[in-house]
Amino acid sequence: MLWPHKDLLCISQLTNEEVLHVFRTARRFAEINARPIKKVPTLKGRTVILFFVEPSTRTKTSFDIAGKRLSADTYSLSASASSLRKGENLKDSALTLQAMHPDALVLRHPQSGAAEFLAQRLSCSVINAGDGWHAHPTQALLDGFTLCEIWGEDMTGKKILIVGDIAHSRVARSDVLLFTMLGARVRLCAPKTLLPSGVNTWPVDVVSDLTSACEGMDAVICLRLQLERQQAGLLPDLREYARHFGLNAARLRKANPGVRVMHPGPMNRGVEIDAALADAEQSLILEQVSAGVATRMALLFLYLTRKDQPAEA
């Protein structure tokens, strides 16, 4: 498949077939990642800029490793080191980076829509590595890839619960789009203060009690609770949150046999997920990290060898 897209901004851009193509490509790269020598020359000479305006270690490292394993040259730029701290606006930063002729720009930004903003202005590929509360498509694709490796490509009939701060979660928004597209049924569990407005129009069901929400589930994804939500008055305290919305083994017994537990990280052990459960055999949390590298290799490969990519000189 010649990749038809310039940018990856949101899961809603992709078709079911394109998502499965990402997974199949990721599977090939996962094999490379299992070799003693993990580097292939596929993207030699390509430049990838990792522009992270919001702190992130794991996503940035994941993209960095993915690029380097494909022999692309990767350069990191973080908010603290960038001119944004000196008052430069996003448009000027982006045009400056563009003038350095990267082939792809991977953007993490605290504002929803920032990736689309750059994509409209830059000729290179823009890969959204998380924009505000809006979208985190590479996380959703790696979550989907992780589950596909266990369940197979057809998720019809599978039931996935996402529990936690849905309102402020770009992961939840992208996961809902992706899992629904793949045929799974998605359920959300959160206090009303952490549910997005208009959630009743989403293709999901919402259950406010976590124990009943776990019933019949094949996978449970816990979301990180940002500690500032308490300061914003959205919940009384962490202890109460953990008691009502923390996933533990007892609650998980209501789920289907073979249920899997996932977390996009970084975890607050003992808050949204029981400390021991994170390490239990149901947990796919470390598989997600490995899948992340393979998925991002697949994405860099597809976007940098896309249909309208200029031919080699």
């Binding site: 504002q111 903003f117 509360w133 770009r170 208009g198």
Partner: protein
């Protein structure tokens, strides 16, 4: 009676084609087409529609302090070309218009750059530095020439301070304009709260952020039996509260803007910062309630809430972009689209844009009867124009209708007998 010093020939007035004779800054008479007069200036109106000069009771002209967005000269030029005979300019300048010095400065800038109009009427700050803590020197502001008082831009959270402002302002005979917004419910919002904000991952502003303050103001006005004017109403809940108040003879008046009568939150799709405005564009149900309210007079007047910003300020992600739509250049054309669609009549426009604002803010009337001040415009309803940065006279090019074709063009704007804007087509 002295002869005319200007005749505007061939204009459409009350379903008739007539000549308008002007003298001494007043309308002398509507004469049959081509009637001979002594030597005087002539303008051929080419059949355009005669309307009273419009009043915009809610603009931000940004001077002093933000001249890169707009200044009094450019704002009044846009007003002249947009068909306005007067504008009321809000106080959120830098420094804030909370002293006679700033008020006088604004009036001087207007007199220097547009000595014959459009008129600038400053709106004084309700609280010192708009901080919502202490009353500004309201009597000083009134004496210096402010025609109304408002904390627009920074809503007054403290109901007691707002109550005292209503009382104190009533002794001065100045209307109080309230920007109705609960600062906590509205904090950090980039758009209307609802399905779309949830999908886009943007913080939304619930309609209750506005209607809660509308209810507060209505209840205070009823309790004190004092007038209050509610700015830029955007939603059905507020309309229903205002209807409730008017049915009980509470002394409340209200305004809305063309953008709330035409557009919904769908305009912000694709993270379109040009459609970011405060209060935010709402849903179709709100638009329909507002249309009915302006037809029935529940909402008294139309205003632009002209909020010019520099291009680079709007060319950012949503959260960072300032709210506001530049409105003076497009207001009448956008209003005319409502006439074309049968939602409003031309008479409604005269009431909403000229007669009622003159009553509420005690400005000279512009009823266009002989003897009245000669303040009128010629509006060519057959023309269309494309909204481009070049076609806009305001420094602020920030409108979501950029690139659209709009109906109707102002050809002539006369304020108190002086031509303040004339299109080359009418000569």
């Amino acid at each position: 009676m002295a002869g005319p010093d200007l005749i505007v020939r061939n204009v459409s007035w009350q379903d008739d084609m007539v000549d308008v004779w002007l003298g001494g800054g007043r309308i002398l008479r509507f004469a049959p087409l081509g009637e001979k007069a002594e030597e005087c200036a002539l303008i051929d109106g080419r059949g355009a529609l005669l309307l009273p000069g419009l009043i915009d009771a809610h603009v931000h002209l940004r001077e002093p302090g933000f001249e890169y967005k707009e200044d009094i000269a450019s704002g009044l030029t846009a007003a002249a070309g947009g068909g306005f005979r007067a504008v009321l300019a809000m106080a959120n300048t830098k420094p804030v218009n909370d002293s006679a010095a700033v008020t006088r400065f604004m009036l001087e800038q207007a007199a220097d750059t547009h000595p014959f109009g459009p008129r600038l009427y400053p709106v004084g700050a309700l609280s010192k530095n708009l901080a919502g803590q202490e009353l500004a020197p309201l009597a000083e502001l009134a004496e210096a020439g402010c025609k109304a008082l408002s904390n627009d831009g920074v809503p007054v959270a403290n109901a007691d301070l707002f109550r005292r402002a209503l009382e104190y302002a009533s002794d001065l005979g100045l209307p109080v304009i309230d920007h109705c917004e609960d600062p906590h419910l509205a904090a950090g919002a980039s758009m209307n709260e609802g399905r779309l904000s949830g999908l886009m991952g943007l913080k939304g502003q619930p309609v209750a952020a506005e209607s809660l303050h509308v209810a507060r103001d209505i209840l205070l006005a009823q309790y004190l039996n004092l007038p209050v004017h509610l700015a830029h109403i955007s939603c059905r809940q507020s309309v229903e509260l205002i209807a409730w108040a008017k049915a009980r003879d509470v002394r409340v008046t209200a305004e809305t803007c063309p953008h709330y009568l035409l557009w919904t939150e769908e305009m912000v799709k694709g993270f379109n910062t040009l459609a970011k405005v405060n209060p935010p564009l709402r849903r179709m149900d709100d638009v329909e309630a507002l249309r009915q309210a302006v037809r029935e007079g529940i909402i008294d007047i139309l205003v632009t809430d002209h909020a010019p910003h520099a291009d680079h300020e709007k060319e950012t992600p949503m959260d960072e972009a300032p709210g506001g739509i530049s409105g003076l250049d497009t207001a009448l054309s956008l209003s005319w689209t409502l006439v074309q669609r049968g939602i409003l009549s031309a008479e409604d426009l005269c009431r909403l844009w000229a007669h009622r604002p003159a009553e509420i803010f005690a400005l000279p009337s512009g009823n266009l009867t002989p003897g009245d001040p000669a303040s009128f415009i010629l509006f060519d309803t057959d023309a269309t124009w494309t909204v481009t940065p070049q076609a806009m006279r305001s420094k602020g090019k920030n409108t979501p209708c950029l690139g659209q074709d709009l109906p109707g063009r102002v050809r002539l704007n006369v304020v108190d007998g002086h031509v303040v804007f004339q299109d080359a087509i009418v000569s």
